[in-house]
Amino acid sequence: MGVKYFGQYLIENNYITNVHLLEAIKYQKNKNIKLGVMVIDKGYMTSEQVEQALNIQRTQDVPFGEACVDKEFLTREQLEELLTAQKEDRIYLGDALVELGHLTLDKVEKYLIEFKTEQQEAQAEINDAFDHIVPEYKDLVQSSIQIINNMLRRLLDEYGKVSGCHEKTNQEFSYDYLVYQKISGAINCYFGIALNKDTLIGFSSKILKREINAVDEYAIDGVQEFMNIVTGHICVLLSKQNIASETFPPVCVDYKEFASNEPITHSYVVPILMTDEQVDMHFLFY
């Protein structure tokens, strides 16, 4: 059990095939009307204005509707009217599967209830997992995971999913590398990412946007810089809360050879699932 999408749940349980799912996703994409089409149909905007707004969306990373309002192509009221209409007419995955004849409506409703129940349990499990963290570190761990997910999305185009949080014990992990940074000050912690050789290579290839085939200086630099960026954001977060901290440069070591000069008091591991891989985030407090 873990946090997942409805489509994934349906395949996992053999309620539909992967071909059905792909068909349904394509069907949704064709049926769901884009805002850019709606504004022209309604006569609110010209195609040149849509092109301009799309360009703003692409280059400035703002939602299409917001770009239209900023440029005064649409009023806020018009945008809200269109978004409401878009939501009302939206075809969900379950609808698509019914319309394509892959499932009956009764079945979709039954599976959706099952799915939501399972997801609530999965979410509760994750929340419970974070609850085990001692209170003074809980916020830091949770906020750090949010920053990591944000950076995975921005730098690797990956949507990471947190599948829990465990107390670390020595025997249960067998990774190749640990890339970590030391944070010292009001909070003292080693913060790291544990990965296998292939994940490290894949990770850096995505960041550098070119193929890397071995664990060379480029591959290591890619993961180290990822950690550096994440840790930097964590320290800004701490600084905003008036928690003074200092960070040390990232280090890449053989996973089994990590050694701390300070006695570790609390160790937590948060596995993050990506498309093909899993990495474990380590928080070792001393």
Binding site: T59, D61, K209, D221, G222, G232, V236, S239, T247, P249
Partner: protein, 124 residues
């Protein structure tokens, strides 16, 4: 002022990853004349020979750090357009570099919308 594609950009970072990421981002704006340096000392040397219109400068670097690099560049050319690019944006660091003459302070990874604003300002 120069057209966007005529701008000369110097990227200063000890990490190959950041240099490549930034090069990729800057190139996507249509800029082709890009040089890189690995520390503040190299940045100062490149600044004198390359005369960039825009410098992206990291802070924590070996040999000569970004704050020193900025100081050297600003004493050589008080009109230099230097943007600090760091993964650690504490208020003290931001204040220190802006006081030394940096025009802006971006958190890594640089967001496209921020780069666009900086470049718009440079060519306007």
């Amino acid at each position: 002022m120069a057209a966007l594609e005529d701008l000369k950009v110097l990227i200063v970072d000890d990490s190959i990853t950041v240099r490549e990421m930034m090069k990729h981002q800057v190139k996507s704006k249509g800029i082709e004349t890009i040089e890189t340096a690995k520390n503040g000392e190299e940045a100062f040397e490149k600044y004198q020979s390359f005369s960039p219109d825009l410098v992206f400068m990291d802070i924590n670097m070996p040999v000569v750090n970004g704050v020193e690099g900025l100081r050297k560049i600003m004493s050589f050319d008080s009109d230099a357009y230097v943007v600090m690019l760091s993964s650690l944006g504490t208020m003290e660091k931001i204040k220190e570099t802006l006081e030394l003459g940096a025009k802006n302070f971006l958190m890594k990874p640089a967001e496209d919308k921020h780069l666009n604003r900086i470049m718009d300002e440079l060519v306007s």
